[in-house]
């Protein structure tokens, strides 16, 4: 896991639901790159043209509410989003992102569209380069940090399975 992320802000409001992130009609693939082609297609069709690798989404409350579709964080990852910073996250979106290794930060950041942010995951700070303001956030609980640091739930499960296999082989 990278300890410092630097990226350009794409701004969203409150209650961005997973139907907005990736509408249901595109849920016949799990491929992040394919899904990214239709990210925000109904509410912000220009998204796929403006998004750049490493961009950071800054949003309001309840980001990712609604459907459990893991296709939503996958679409964001496929689009190159490095991190989502929001005032709060809906719970299934939060789980899915942690499990996939997409960095989420709960923090009330003041930023405009296009601002550059430097996110220091170890120190728990976000700096807005334009305004010079620094915002602090609480790190994830230890267990979740462990999953994120391993690169997601898949790696964690593989370890559990390996331990089980080596135990069975004894």
């Amino acid at each position: 896991m990278k300890e410092v992320l630097e990226g350009r802000v794409i701004l969203f409001g409150d209650n961005v639901d997973t139907d907005q992130i990736i509408p249901a009609e595109f849920l016949t693939t799990g491929d992040p790159k394919e899904l990214a082609k239709n990210a925000f297609i109904k509410v912000r069709p220009e998204f796929k043209n403006i998004v750049q690798d490493g961009d950071i989404i800054v949003a309001g409350r309840n980001f990712g509410c609604g459907s459990s579709r893991e296709h939503a964080p996958r679409a964001l990852m496929g689009a190159g989003i490095s991190c989502v910073v929001a005032k709060s996250f809906a719970r299934i979106f939060f789980r899915n992102s942690i499990n996939l290794g997409l960095t989420l930060i709960e923090c009330d950041v003041k930023a405009n569209e296009g601002d550059k942010l430097i996110v220091d995951l170890k120190r728990g700070t976000i700096k807005n380069i334009r305004s010079g303001e620094i915002f602090e956030f609480k790190p994830l609980p230890a267990f979740l940090l462990k999953i994120v640091e391993k690169g997601g739930l898949m790696e964690y499960v593989k370890e559990v399975l390996n331990e089980k296999n080596s135990y069975n082989a004894r």
């Binding site: 249901a24 109904k42 309840n62 459990s68 893991e70 299934i92 898949m154």
Partner: protein, 418 residues
């Protein structure tokens, strides 16, 4: 300090004494995926070390979102589920024509029982709280993880106690209670929390109405919506349930983050207007001309819902400018409706009746809305573009409001027109 139902069930499954806020790994009784969320789960599962065997008896596979297949892509997706079931000898696979909408089917087929921990890669998995289970929606990757290791990390949620007392007025149902609560506390009013229900109004509700209430906990951001199981639940389960179960109840001195009290007489037939389930108004104040009326979904596609609508539509025709779509949630519901003559009533009223599918509820197919069209629906979400075009609108309501509105051609309070 006593424990809540959530703390007790998760504690039992984690084989530990737990309290709200803790993150634990818990053994899961069942994990369910549908055709949409199944595919990514199967792909993840295949990435585990060669020879990894799934906990087949814990897995339930229910195609419902895009089946019968709506196009080639969804046909391929549904086939992947069928293939996965075959490859790993998963018995709990419900093919088209044998099943239906996943949450209603999970309940009908006896997977759900008090005290169980059930998760599903579908956000409305919280429905099973109506039978005293702890159930919640998860993602595809973690569904794959459970298939492989049988357990999952969970944060033990705080709980909110919601009490409703008094007699509901005519044409007011479980749907109105939950819309009223969401309208009050907002779409993140129960974020990460369990909504626990008490009071004589809840006790007097049918199990069907209780499922509607638990089903929409997620629309308030909730992790679960639990109703203490009673004789109605035990009776329903008598000839259905798989295995044994033990009902779990909260202690009298359990800690609640918040206690909310509602009087049933203050709850009218309620409508959630676009584009959030919290944007509620009494149906009588929503005078909107509609193009479509939709009766179905895991929220309100049960036999009780169909009876309510059929009673209103009997011997009548819907408005000539409205098309009404009726989708019984499962084969069992469909057959019962057929037996009771309800299908005939819908047909005679000029409704379109089809077999079970999630279909239009999530904007999949079978009733997609065009630019600017408006639909009153018994479903659970009215987000932007949820049922089709980005400029279409969905109004959430109970089955009586939907049926009465289909006749009138505009959204009405059934108490004013019937």
């Amino acid at each position: 300090m006593g424990k809540t139902i959530s703390e007790k069930i998760i504690g039992n499954k984690a084989r530990d004494v737990v309290e709200a806020g803790q993150i634990v790994e818990a053994n899961v009784d069942y994990v369910m995926v549908n055709d949409v969320t199944g595919l990514p789960a199967f792909e993840q599962f295949e990435k585990f070390p060669k020879g990894t065997k799934p906990y087949s008896e814990k897995i339930v596979l229910i195609p419902d979102h895009y089946v019968p297949n709506k196009d080639v892509a969804s046909a391929e997706q549904a086939k992947r589920m069928r293939d996965f079931a075959k490859k790993y000898n998963i018995k709990n696979y419900f093919e088209v024509g044998r099943g239906g909408v996943c949450h209603q089917l999970m309940i009908e087929k006896g997977f759900v029982a008090p005290g169980r921990l059930i998760v599903g890669a579908d956000s409305h998995t919280c429905s099973y709280g109506a039978l005293g289970a702890f159930s919640t929606g998860i993602g595809s990757t973690e569904a794959a993880a459970i298939m492989a290791i049988g357990k999952l990390w969970l944060k033990v949620p705080d709980s909110i106690k919601i009490t409703v007392n008094g007699k509901l007025d005519n044409y007011v149902y479980g749907k109105d209670i939950i819309l009223h609560v969401i309208g009050d506390i907002g779409v993140e009013g129960a974020l990460y929390q369990t909504m626990e229900y008490y009071g004589n109004t809840i006790e007097n509700l049918t199990l069907s109405d209780r499922i509607t209430i638990s089903n929409m906990a997620i629309e308030a951001g909730g992790k679960a919506g639990i109703i203490p199981p009673d004789e109605k639940v035990f009776e329903y389960l008598r000839d259905r349930v798989r295995g044994n179960y033990t009902p779990i109840y909260s202690d009298k001195d359990a800690y609640y983050l918040q206690e909310l009290k509602y009087d049933a007489v203050d709850i009218p037939p309620t409508v959630a207007k676009p584009f959030l389930p919290s944007n509620t108004s009494p149906a009588s104040e929503v005078d909107v001309k509609i193009d479509q009326a939709y009766l179905g979904s895991c929220t309100n596609g049960r036999i009780e819902d169909l009876r309510i609508a059929a009673k209103i539509l009997k011997g009548k025709k819907i408005n000539p400018e409205v098309r009404m779509i009726v989708v019984p949630a499962t084969k069992e519901v469909f057959n019962q409706a057929l037996k009771e003559g309800l299908i005939e009533i819908f047909e005679n009223a000029d409704c379109f009746v089809c077999g079970p599918t999630c279909g239009a509820c999530l904007g999949g197919y079978m009733g997609i809305l065009a630019d600017g069209e408006k639909c009153v629906a018994t479903t659970n979400r009215n987000f932007i573009g949820r049922m089709g075009h980005k400029n279409s609108e969905v109004y959430l309501a109970n089955p009586a409001v939907v049926a009465a509105s289909a006749i009138e051609g505009r959204i009405v309070d059934p108490r004013e027109v019937l």
